[in-house]
Amino acid sequence: MISPYAIEVKQLTHSYFTKKAEMIAIRSITFSVLPGEFLVIVGPSGCGKSTILSLIAGIFPYTSGEILLFGQEVRGPSDKIGYMLQKDGLLDWRTVEGNIHLGLEIQRKNTSADLSYAKDLLRQVGLAQTLKYYPSQLSGGMRQRVALVRTLATKPEILLLDEPFSALDIQHKLHLEELLVRLLTQQKKTAILVTHDLEEAIALGDRIMVMGGQPGEIRQIFDVPETLRNLSPMKTRGHPDFRPLFEKLWREVERP
């Protein structure tokens, strides 16, 4: 069956169990993402944003509902997906080169063509000279760029980004946003970004999904106007349409 959607999430519910209790993290979540679209999920801590990403990535099985990637049900980790976390997770004992090869090694795709593709990505993020460095020799922004290269090296069609820039200072954050948008539009990838940062949400997203409550539910989904969508992240922040949308999002997130 051919599906027009890259990601479909239907009536998704997930609970964490302990001996004494069941904690419902998210309840009846339904949304879909078109190929090439950039969806941003915002909401307060503990509303289950990250849980949704882990479930789509197939890290652990969901309690009920359905997740489809290009029409196929998620039953575990898939090669179609690249997952990036706030913690860069670079392995201290591997050089930058070893780190960007990790995903390729695990998926047994480490042919010389794939390895040189990874090297080329590293050059595109401006870190070609750090190939033989260890992660401890890099700054936070550089580490996150290496993590981005590691994620893209396996050529995933869908990128799941769990607050990848929240630990960075504003300058690095803006640069990385620019870089991410450039790489994603160039390679026509589908992406879901989870963030706390409403400005970042507007700057990067085509649509913004606001979540809230406990268990987490969808509050509302906003379309980012065409006028902002085609601007670079840096320029979006200066556009006259930026502020009104920010206020709307803010009210929705703050609503009890």
Binding site: P77, Y83, G103, I106, Y134, S136
Partner: protein, 279 residues
Amino acid sequence: MKKWLKSAWFEKGAISPAHAHYLRKSRLTQLWVWLLRFGILISLIWLWEWSTDSGILDPFLFSSPSRIWQLTSQLASSGELFHHIWLTSWETIVGFLLGTATGIALATLIWASPFLSQVLDPYLVVLNSMPKVALGPLFIVTMGAGFGSILAMAIAITVIVTTLVIHSSFQGVDASYSILARSFGASHTQIFLKIIFPACIPDMIATLKVNVGLAWVGVIVGEFLVSKAGLGYLIIYGFQVFNLTLVMVSLFIVAIISTVMYQLIAWLEQRLLRYRLVS
């Protein structure tokens, strides 16, 4: 002397007057550290020699540096000493390598199966709190009074603590590493080989360091119990015939060899953990 202290050697390699001042100060400190280290050693040896010579200490009980030196060179020239050293070192090295490797293998097994880990938990706790030396008689009746029993003692004393430490180290690996590997579709085995095991190499080297010391305990006690050769045997034999000089000779040799082994592992650690040193 004074002239030498003012010499240019202390400022060799300086790139500015302030740097020269800094170099002079730190090299002088270093010099003092070494002088005092040797000073303490030499005065202790001298004090020992003098007090046994003048009759304050009984040389029959406390031996003396000159007697120890004489006996050492006598045993060394007959070649007998090297036989004992070789035997004990061999037992220790084999024992601690086998003990550590078995411990890591066991830890891997119970990491791979949380179910097995739960089942074996009480056994590990009991075995860990058990004084392993007390198992000596059991080893002797099953493996005979010889190499096997001594090795078993060294392994018994190292294996359980290694299992416990390495297993908890496996479990302590940052969960985001495993999530990352999972997101690439890594299997259980791949996660172990690419993430968990390499992440724990520093802890494994730390257990190697502890295990060298423990294996020495196992081997020496083992030799006390059964052996007809080795440094532990020399100690217990020297004690039985009341030749305390022989005991002292053996103790010094044990101290030297165990230090050398420890340093070898420290060197290995530096080689393997280079990624930690660069920054």
